[in-house]
Symmetry: C2
Subunit: 825 residues, 2 copies
């Protein structure tokens, strides 16, 4: 894809459409990324955008959230407490395949003479569509239209159609609908190692050495294929069912067959010109941790029967209605910026595809669009995705938090292994057990406990869902606070402070440090919030409190211990530079000269030994700046600006998570141009494959980050301690920015222009928000005039090239004495 700073997509091939991602010509150049970008899913079931014919691909992938195989992790050198159980999302049997033959010649996109071609995914309809006209080797033109949809309303259901019409003359047509276990076939996922060049990439899933899916049952009949499997090690079970209908006036013969790992329904049609053939393939997947595979097959039958009864059209209608509601809550509009608008909607649509029906599962780093990061759940969900869900689709936020609650027993066991009280959530996991095989950048990221607590409190404060907090959420809060209280220790270092040693912050280019600023600020919040909420619940519901105090063996002394630890938390600050060191000793290190690092040595992690990287002042992703964002009320504006100016030039942006925070803080401190550049770098992570690994699946955290950059960054939303405040900073090139917020069950629309913010209560009771710290009661429509938004800093940190998400000039800036004009504004 050709790229420019303003719009990195080749608009000849990917024309702008505000409600669709459209591909107007076929190419094998970027199969991996395009399969990801055209994937369909509902948070439970996901199908990569492989072509119907099932041939050329980077990776044929179908994934079910949480459906994984386990394997023993063999550490090259073992140590006590190292993660033991590897977990990898399984590539479930592929039902996408609908092969087409005309005159016995197969349609193969890579070779086919295509008179026309368009593939698009429609964000309002929730359907992937492909239309093409193929001139066969015999010179016959064939119109082929297909659709693929994973239902948001029927969690287990996918519907595919293929319509074939001969335009020029008669011919024998064969449509072969297949079900293929690719996980265990020669054609398994990751046959190619296309993108990265280097011999390894820790961000990719590993292959399995032996069979994963054990076939339990296979059946074909009644136009259906049914298969049951059990994972060899995890013992998770799977049922797959495929149903077929054909509508045509042409004579045809159906032939159905199935064996282990391979089933097919073949329609042999004597097609006449102009007589269409429409094959509809209805697919159901059911999975479980304990239910026998045969029973899951029965569930598939019931799903398929229901679709037979109601017809597929109903499901397409429901899909549309569901998305209408989604967009009513979640849409962000940027009128006059169609390329941005399209990309924004694609990103938001991805969050829906990753989370809508995740339900008792978490939201994996790649949603259900790829096996990158092995299908694991990370902190990304809590920090980058939950804010969006909290303010637009709070039910989904609640589900994601309940998922963590269900993981609590595993987290308690993990804390014990790490010699701590309370609970320590695993850095990466599917089944709740720690699966990080590299502790320095994994298990050491204790901050995940605080991230989860942060997202929990934010959810409860924004929605008022005290019932959830009282019954389940508070257990997370208490057990994480206990971990922090136990992990830290008091130390006299110029005053008695509470110190947290030997942890890693979000930035994985510096590991196992003392008093990581982000960790300490977040832990402080975790401890204080635990105390606050427990006290609040005691006032709110004495009975409920009694139950929880009993359940958690909680007393006042412990609550006071948390408050003391929070109050005494060590917050590193360097008086000399006037900035917050990333950790106690970060500033002791040499500064990595990014300007002297060859472009072909990026990202650093693929070209330097960890020991080398760790030795320097260089960041993979924002760390202090992340704290400035999440705990913004703990820092002055002057501090934020000084910190940003110090860290931005040494931040590589080798993580896609970095640009998001850099954009938000750049906007806050006044670097509007940089904010916009980082916004673009985040917006096009997958669409323009800016990190060369979109092939592994959608960067779901980054899609959530797009919303964050819009609403937190440009919209200026902050919600410290549940107090929603808007301090807007509309980019000068934009005429308007419209977004929605769900607050305590009411929905408020915010229309931001350069000189005013219009707040409209769309549903529910009046709510109070603040605009630049002034309380505004929103009932009906309120117009708030906006004064100038403060100094506009330009170019001070150099210019950021869009495509890499980092600046060319990596030279250092000495932050020096803060600008007095910015002091504590």
């Amino acid at each position: 894809m050709s790229r420019s700073a303003a719009d990195p997509l080749d608009r000849h091939r990917f024309p702008i459409d505000e409600w669709r991602l459209v591909e107007s010509s076929y190419s094998t150049d970027d199969l991996g990324a395009s399969e990801t970008c055209f994937a369909v899913g509902n948070g439970y079931l996901g199908m990569r955008g492989n072509p119907e014919e099932g041939r050329e691909s980077y990776a044929h992938g179908t994934f079910i959230n949480g459906f994984h195989e386990t394997w023993p992790i063999h550490h090259a050198e073992e140590a006590y407490g190292f993660a033991q159980t590897g977990q990898t999302i399984v590539n479930v049997p592929d039902t996408k395949v609908l092969k087409l033959y005309v005159d016995d010649e197969p349609l193969l996109l890579a070779d086919a003479d295509l008179e026309s071609y368009e593939r698009s995914i429609d964000f309002a309809a929730g359907v992937l569509t492909r239309d093409l006209v193929w001139r066969t080797p015999a010179g016959k033109r064939v119109k082929v239209s297909s659709t693929r949809m994973v239902s948001f309303t029927e969690r287990h259901l996918a519907i595919m159609t293929m319509e074939v019409t001969l335009l020029d003359g008669d011919a024998p047509v064969v449509i072969s609908s297949q079900v293929l276990n690719r996980q265990d076939g020669k054609d398994e996922y990751h046959v190619k190692d296309a993108a990265m060049g280097s011999g390894f990439d820790p961000r990719k899933a590993q292959g399995f050495a032996s069979r994963v899916l054990d076939p339990i049952s296979t059946w074909a009949g009644d136009d259906r294929i049914l298969m049951g499997y059990r994972c060899m090690n995890s013992e998770m079970t799977l049922g797959v069912g495929v149903d077929h209908t054909i509508v045509t006036d042409n004579p045809y013969v159906p032939m159905l067959s199935a064996e282990n790992d391979y089933g097919k329904m073949v329609y042999r049609v004597d097609a006449r010109a102009g007589q269409s053939i429409v094959v509809t393939k209805t697919v159901a997947y059911h999975t479980s941790k304990g239910v026998p595979a045969r029973e899951l097959v029965d569930r598939c039958v019931r799903t398929l029967d229901r679709v037979r009864r109601h017809g597929t059209e109903l499901h397409h209608e429901e899909q549309k209605l569901w998305l209408d509601e989604f967009w009513a809550n979640a849409d962000v509009e940027i009128p006059g910026q169609p390329a941005v608008q399209q990309a924004v909607r694609w990103n938001l649509f991805q969050i829906a595809q990753a989370s809508a029906r995740a339900e008792q599962n978490g939201i994996p780093a790649k949603g259900v669009t790829g096996s990158g990061y092995e299908g694991h759940y990370f902190w990304d969900t809590e920090i980058y995705v939950l804010p969006f869900l909290t303010y637009t689709l709070p039910v989904m936020a609640r589900n994601a938090l309940r998922f963590r609650y269900q993981m609590l027993p595993s987290a308690q066991r993990r804390a014990a292994v790490l010699s701590q009280r309370g609970a320590l959530f695993p850095w990466r996991t599917i089944n709740g057990e720690e699966a990080s095989a590299y502790y320095a950048a994994g298990t050491a990221q204790y901050h995940i406990d605080a991230d989860i607590s942060y997202a929990l409190c934010r959810y409860v404060e924004a929605t008022g869902d005290d019932e959830f907090m009282l019954r389940e959420g508070v257990d997370i809060l208490v057990e994480t606070a206990r971990m922090w209280a136990d992990l830290g220790f008091w130390r006299s270092n110029g005053g008695e402070t509470f110190n947290i040693h030997g942890v890693t912050g979000p930035d994985e280019y510096t590991t196992v440090v003392n008093n990581n600023l982000f960790t300490n600020v977040m832990a402080k919040d975790n401890l204080q919030k635990a105390a606050d909420h427990v006290r609040r619940l005691r006032d709110l519901s004495p009975d409920g409190y009694a139950a929880l105090a009993d359940r958690l063996d909680l007393d006042e002394a412990e609550i006071e211990e948390w408050e003391r630890a929070a109050a005494g938390m060590s917050i590193p600050f360097d008086e000399n530079l006037g900035i917050h060191p990333q950790d106690d000793h970060f500033l002791d290190g040499e500064v990595w000269e990014l300007a002297k690092t060859p472009e072909d040595h990026r990202p650093l992690l693929l070209h330097y030994h960890p020991l080398v990287i760790y030795r320097f002042q260089v960041l993979k992703q924002a760390d202090v700046c992340m704290a400035l964002f999440l705990q913004g009320d703990s820092f002055t504006q002057a501090e934020k600006r000084a910190d940003f100016e110090y860290y931005d030039p040494i931040t590589t942006g080798d993580s896609t998570l970095s640009a998001i925070v850099q954009s938000i803080i750049a906007a806050e401190v006044g670097y509007y141009e940089m904010a916009m550049n980082y916004f673009h770098a985040g917006l096009f992570v997958d669409l323009a494959d800016l990190h060369d690994n979109a092939s592994e699946g959608v960067h779901v955290a980054s899609t959530g980050g797009v919303w964050a950059m819009l609403v937190h960054g440009f919209g200026g939303l902050r919600d410290h301690h549940g107090r929603v405040n808007l301090d807007p900073r509309l980019p000068t090139s934009w005429e308007r920015l419209t977004f929605r917020l769900n607050l305590a069950g009411s929905r408020v629309r915010a229309d931001l222009t350069s000189d005013e913010l219009v707040l409209t209560l769309e549903t529910g009771d009046p709510v109070t928000v603040r605009v630049r710290d002034e309380p505004v009661e929103v009932s009906g429509t309120i117009i708030v005039a906006l004064a100038d938004q403060g100094p506009r800093l330009q170019g001070a940190l150099g210019t950021l090239p869009l495509i890499s998400g980092r600046r060319e000039d990596g030279s250092m800036i000495t932050a020096g004495v803060p600008d007095p004009s910015l002091q504590d504004s």
Copy 2:
């Protein structure tokens, strides 16, 4: 084995003999440790002390130094620069087996009715001997005497004998001499996991999943069995040859056969009472990196032919003569302390067994007595073994240093991978490639470069071998200095200092730190010594210097850069406590309360996650104290005492290397009782299996350390910058300590009593040594009267229980202000 503080061996079973290790009754309780303690070897070939019958064992092991298989290291999570090639010493075909049957009943020690039993290894004869009288199930008494010897003079040769005499009556006797490839058999090494209890132990070798030794040729004839093998991956080749003779007046039938992996020579004897049967088994092993296996088999034939020609008796005589010379150079005598004397000689004998014929190989951590640490070479050799070799058998020290020189190209490549100039020696290796799969406690120990340079300079300074330095040694010195100069960086932190960040010192309970004191002090020495020696060589041999300057692309500017870095080296010191922090931030951490750590949670590494251990002030082994010893002239006496008092209570001694240094420094600063306790803890590491892992092989570094505790600790030898000084501190309970030093080709004997030190020139030209800083020219015999040796500190740090090598009371001592009476004495 029952243990007491004074003598931890059960003297009923292991009676004291000053020249032999003797076992007077058989037990299966401690097979692993006893196989190690009764192993025979010559530094090239080693055979564990398995019984002749080849049955009950912890591990049947035969090892050849450097003969290894390679395998790809699979990191659970890969990163750039991680070690790629695993290397494991191979268990070569077992030729020790001589099975005995009487009346077709096998002799099985575990079940046998033994009327008498004695096994001993003779330190002067270099032979393992076993004598027993067996009462067979049929009630016949059979005298069985056997010997096993690995020749110090014929590197590839081992000789075994078995003499069987029926004492009571006639019977059919069968002696079956076998050759078994156990590496690839069901009976492979490490069938049992006896010792450690825990599910893993990083200090043990891993098993191979597939065949290691590919049989190339097998032949039997002429009373011989010949086998050729090639390692599947490393492609190293091996020839094994076994020859037999029998001497008896009884009629007998020999039966010879061989197939892949299994050969045997069976003697069926119609034995008459009183008529002895003597079977002699002569064994040759040859190995190579490039020579075909068949050629190695030919070499075996030549070795065996030579023995046939000369007879085995000659080799036993030569063995004795070789050991006479060894003890003349190396013996340390402690008259009146027979238990200590025995243990000391066993330890020194182990160094001979580990190093005598290592030649172009290094000295593995376990010598050739076990597969612990996979047969790898570490820094242990340079720091714990080379001093002994330098002062007693300098030719062997030279060989070990040449081995490192030959590794230099690999070390240069490794430095490049780690983004450094110069050379970085691998932390653990056989073939020169880094094999440490856990970088934090492996690759990060950059100090290995300085350790090698230190041993090199010490060797050259003690022997005057400038020829070696000029031609090869200097390359090591220059390339390591280059690595340090490139690794460190200048920083303004209260004066401009040269800083080394992100490294691990000897203590593996704190990793990847900034300015590890030991590393910095050793690197400083490395840089300065490189400059000094290069300048010295320039004066000594202008031509030689021109060649080396050209070879190494060396100029004056670079030499000056080293000197600046050395002079500016950051040496952490805490004014408040008056001690040297182990690293810049060591004192920031919480102190681990060893007193509260249950005994069943030791060693810590098997019971706590590394992240937990690293967070605390707790040591696996001496670190600062090691610097106090090796670079003693850089510290005042007061500093040494303060440092020792601070670190000793938080040193677990979980490494066997710890007690050695603790003993030496305790002796230096005046804690004589502790020095003696640590001496015992080091002396009996293997003999009393104090660390529960003697089963994996002899702790060779610890055996070298025994000499160090005697000569450096009690003898008070220091040799900073080649200036040999003796500051003796004879333990009050000892009447005398005698040791020898080889100095510039002369041998000096030192006889130390409580009030005088007698120095005698045993061979060579007169030499000058210093006694308590007074120069003494030794020619003939010189008696130096000794004044009192300073304050005798007692009990201040609590008492040290012998068996664990650590104190029961782990409570902290605040070093406080140094005692002025000790200031800079």
